[in-house]
């Protein structure tokens, strides 16, 4: 090969690297390892994590421990889906392009909005992408967010907004729900969009229609971040007059994966189609009149439009979106509804069971669907540690992101959390809150570290 190239050594291929930027030593990394050693090394790391198989997981806060059917893994691991690039050559990418088209159809059905893209990175950054569209569409630069929007979404929006040159204004929560009066008062003629979430971060089911009406009264777009699983039972953003619906796709057949990769989805009303971010597959015909699919509306995109593109995204989350459409096909029309109903009923049961405990109160009494917020008459961090000792992850402490709910705990329910699991959580939580699990002669545990289970031994 060197002879064909006309050089004497491989080093000559790097001859153009100037001396002052050449690394004159080996990389300081561990030496390469055999495949078996790599598996051992990574298995050892994995065993130091308390995963949702080794303990009973009531944590939600945006990602949920749903069952992932075997066919999702079986199909997404096929080489033909796992290893291609973005479908730039449609004649040999019909599989992936048709998957995108099916995905767009399924997500559009879920949200009740007519157009969907083929995925974005994940949930919170999709919220920020909606802001970019709203600013472009309205030529306004103020963004009003509900405090009941996921803290990660609000923080991500703040980060992006500095690039957009936009101001972010927050409106408060009243009894678990976005404060509609505060929202109305916060809007002005320079407000591009209002951002709400359903169910909101505290688990409460918002009245999206009322929120959208308030936004539209000022010519402002209404953006909702929605939980795709609960769209089987909750009124759709489309029916409620929402202009843009986005969300985190992990609940649709995605693993927890410590937070990613998952996918974000992005749907809108027809008028925003040409401003949408990301890939969009469209139906067309080939030279012989056969049905086929291509990347549509590419003139929105960075590789064609460069600085005038509607977004900078290139690599997105196609494989995770495939998992999503397989999952939705597996659940099917009835399954999605049944799953939603099961979760709503178990959530109601769990809320009642847990708030019946002395020292545990509901944080709000708004209706909930799959998650609810509690107030504990015990320190949340220490309580979580003590419940974890019994192999249960009781939920998500609200204190860091909501100092006003320092005593707040968010509990999530999926079809994997049976009545027996819920009863066990109730019993354990009751014991902890009542002080039964506190060490010694009832003194409060001051250093939770000392009672935390040793990593790697959880659930064994």
């Amino acid at each position: 090969m060197l002879e064909a190239i006309g050089v004497a050594s491989v080093e000559e291929l790097f001859a153009e690297l100037p001396d002052d930027v050449r690394l004159d030593r080996p990389l300081d990394l561990p030496p390469g390892a055999a495949e078996s050693e790599v598996v051992e090394d990574l298995s050892a790391l994995a065993s130091k994590n308390a995963d949702a198989e080794s303990e009973v997981c009531f944590i939600g806060a945006g990602m949920y421990d749903h069952y992932v059917p075997a066919i999702v893994d079986a199909i997404t691991q096929r080489s033909e889906f796992l290893t291609p690039y973005t479908p730039y050559q449609p004649e040999v990418s019909q599989g992936g392009l048709q998957v995108m088209f099916e995905f767009q159809t399924a997500i559009s059905e879920l949200t009740g909005l007519p157009v969907s893209n083929a995925s974005l990175y994940e949930g919170p950054s999709s919220v920020a992408s909606a802001a970019y569209l709203a600013i472009g569409a309205t030529k306004r630069r103020r963004l009003v967010v509900s405090r009941a929007l996921h803290p990660h979404s609000r923080q991500t929006l703040e980060t992006y907004a500095r690039g957009f040159g936009a101001e972010v204004v927050e409106v408060g929560i009243a009894n678990g729900l976005t404060d509609v009066d505060q929202l109305a008062a916060a809007l002005d003629d320079d407000t591009a969009a209002v951002f709400v979430q359903n169910p909101n971060f505290l688990g409460a089911v918002e009245d999206l229609e009322a929120l959208a009406d308030v936004a539209h009264a000022r010519g402002t777009l209404a953006v909702a971040s929605v939980d795709p699983i609960m769209l089987g039972v909750l009124r759709t953003p489309g029916e409620c007059g929402i202009d843009i619906a986005v969300g985190e796709g992990q609940p649709l057949g995605g693993r927890l994966d410590y937070g990613g990769p998952s996918f974000g989805f992005f749907c809108a009303t027809e008028e925003h189609l040409r401003r949408m971010p990301g890939r969009i597959a469209g139906e067309t015909t080939d030279a012989d009149g056969r049905r086929g699919f291509v990347l549509a509306l590419q003139t929105r995109e960075q590789h064609i439009r460069r600085e005038k593109a509607t977004h900078n995204i290139c690599t997105s989350q196609a494989l995770n979106a495939l998992g999503g459409v397989i999952y939705l096909s597996w659940l099917g029309k009835r399954g999605l509804v049944e799953l939603g109903e099961l979760i709503v009923r178990r959530t109601a049961y769990a809320r009642e069971a847990l708030t019946a405990i002395e020292g545990v109160e509901p944080l709000h009494d708004a209706p909930v669907a799959r998650e609810f917020a509690l107030r504990l008459d015990a320190p949340v961090r220490e309580t979580l540690d003590l419940v974890a000792e019994q192999g249960i992850a009781a939920g998500y402490g609200l204190g860091r992101e909501y100092p006003e709910y320092e005593d707040g705990l968010l509990v999530a329910i999926t079809e994997r959390r049976s009545k027996a699991d819920i009863d066990r959580l109730a019993e354990t939580l009751q014991g902890v809150v009542a002080g039964e699990w506190l060490v010694g002669d009832g003194a409060k545990v001051s250093d939770s570290e000392t009672t935390a289970p040793v990593a790697g031994e959880v659930g064994t």
Binding site: L23, Q89, L297
Partner: protein, 515 residues
């Protein structure tokens, strides 16, 4: 050595292939009322009417029209669709700038371990020590490879890393009380660069390319002034050539107070040979789905960690991974640190695409430092060998190298002579390549090369597969000499033939109409 004509693929559309005869049917069209796949756990709590729990007006009216279909039919449907894709495991995929290298299956195995795949992202760090340690180790490895002292793994892809880089640049300048409006990008840059500049609220200023394919220093000096926030650069650049003037470029940009951003899409060319930090870059993004073997998945997932210099570090996204040494011989403890008063904040939810980190770490662990250097070396060897083969015969005549010098891991040809002399465009050559069983190179990029073909074979390909690819090009150009119509009408063997992309944009049908 050329193939015999008997090996050439069909060159007319007279006999449709079995796949072509099969009309595309969507999963919605396979739906039959009453069929289903999923069984759910039985209800074990009181079956209360939903409207008792949630007010009726907040409940959905009609069901979403999802497919009604059995599990075997779902599996058949997606298996059938999968066969309508070309993929890296089927054959060479020399897509320039995309680094289509082999995806080791051991990475899939370790990513699927329950301790990784089943770990909730909001798990208490005390009970996620393995995940945090893995991320911490990956950060240190990327720092060493990039030659920069700090890493954040948070960005989800290259474009997300770019946005992070410009928001970091903005925070850095603002912290020093400066407002700058412009970002320089070479005319060879990836489309994501200028798109990111606009999203980050800056104005794009293009820098010209010199006759050797590098940044035009005179043009750079003219445009570099106190209003320049940053220069975004890829090195080796999208022409596959290493910019030897990089040190001087860095001096010019730093001289006017700007930051230097490294688009890591081409890092696969130089791992272990040269480091962006040593070249003077302040911010680097790394595409874990390119250089570090995360499968591309038909368009993601990826991850775009960023490595930065000391002066940029205070602005990195939160949370950061921190390690505290254990006292009295205890193991070190890892945690998430949300402080950082100057941080640009979050770029997404939770900690990033952890599953991608697992695969990238497994890859780095498998290869080690020497192996990474070998990978880059072999990538450059393969690219230069393929280039040498393509310069022989008709390739050299009809598709010459755009900038005549040795390349790194990829090279750019210009199909302008083929268009002029044979009447076939680069698009036509690419489409005919599909009939030969190869994925075409990236085409019509970079924009400054007329009829561009950007070829990146990666270290994955053997000499035999490179020879076969070179032979296919040679034979296609011979066909073009004989009968250009073959190329103009190609492909003939793919599941569908050339598609009407204009129609899909003029009258977009982006979802299926359902009852």
């Amino acid at each position: 050595m050329t193939r015999t004509d008997t090996l050439a693929p069909p060159s007319n559309a007279d006999t449709p292939t079995p796949q072509q005869r099969e009309r595309a049917v969507t999963i919605f069209e396979r739906s039959v009322r009453g069929r289903r796949a999923a069984t759910l756990p039985p209800s074990d709590v009181p079956e209360r009417p939903l409207e008792e729990l949630i007010p009726q007006r907040l409940l959905r009216d009609g069901d979403a029209e999802l497919p009604e279909i059995s599990e075997p039919e779902i599996v058949r449907h997606y298996n059938r669709l999968s066969r309508r894709n070309f993929d890296l495991d089927t054959g060479p995929y020399p897509l320039g700038s995309c680094t289509m290298k082999h995806n080791p299956r051991v990475n899939e195995r370790v990513a699927a371990l329950p301790g990784h795949a089943g770990l909730h992202p909001a798990q208490d760090p005390k009970r996620a020590q393995g995940a945090l340690e893995l991320m911490w180790r990956l950060e240190r490895a990327l720092e060493e490879i990039c030659g920069l002292p700090h890493v954040s793994l948070q960005p989800s892809a290259g474009s997300h890393g770019e946005l992070a880089g410009l928001l970091l640049t903005r925070a850095y300048h603002e912290d020093r009380g400066e407002e700058r409006a412009k970002v320089l990008t070479p005319d060879t840059s990836h489309g994501t660069n200028p798109a990111t500049v606009t999203m980050a609220g800056y104005e794009v200023v293009k820098v010209a390319t010199d006759e050797r394919g590098g940044v035009d220093l005179d043009d750079l000096r003219t445009k570099a002034d106190g209003d320049v926030a940053c220069l975004m650069l890829t090195n080796p650049n999208t022409l596959g050539v290493f910019d030897e003037n990089i040190t001087e470029i860095a001096q010019i940009v730093h001289g006017v107070g700007g930051t230097l951003y490294y688009d890591g899409a081409n890092l696969n060319a130089i791992m272990g040979w040269s480091r962006p930090g040593d070249m003077g870059f302040d911010i680097v993004h790394v595409n874990l789905h390119k250089s570090f073997s995360q499968p591309h998945g038909g368009g993601g997932p990826g991850a775009g960690p960023i490595a930065v210099s000391d002066r940029i570090e205070p602005y990195l996204p939160v949370p950061r991974i921190v390690r505290a040494e254990g006292s009295n011989g205890a193991a070190p403890r890892f945690d998430l640190d949300y402080s950082g008063s100057k941080s640009i904040g979050r770029l997404r939810g939770f900690q990033g695409n952890f599953g991608v980190f697992v695969r990238a770490y497994a890859y780095i662990r498998s290869l080690g430092g020497d192996g990474l250097k070998d990978a880059s070396e072999t990538a450059a060897l393969n690219a230069n060998y393929l280039l040498a083969r393509l310069r022989e015969g008709r390739g050299g005549k009809y598709m010459p190298l755009a900038f005549d010098r040795l390349c790194m891991h990829e090279f750019v040809l210009s199909g302008a002579p083929a268009k002029r002399e044979l009447g076939v465009k680069t698009l036509d050559i690419a489409k005919r390549l599909l009939d030969y069983g190869f994925h075409p190179p990236t085409i019509y990029f970079p924009l400054l090369v007329d009829e561009a073909l950007m070829v990146e074979p990666t270290e994955t390909e053997t000499k035999e597969s490179l020879d076969a690819l070179a032979d296919a090009f040679e034979e296609i150009l011979a066909e073009a000499e004989r009968d250009p119509q073959i190329l103009l009408a190609a492909p003939f063997t793919t599941p569908v033939r050339r598609l009407d992309e204009a129609q899909a944009s003029r009258k977009p049908v982006v979802r299926q109409a359902l009852e």
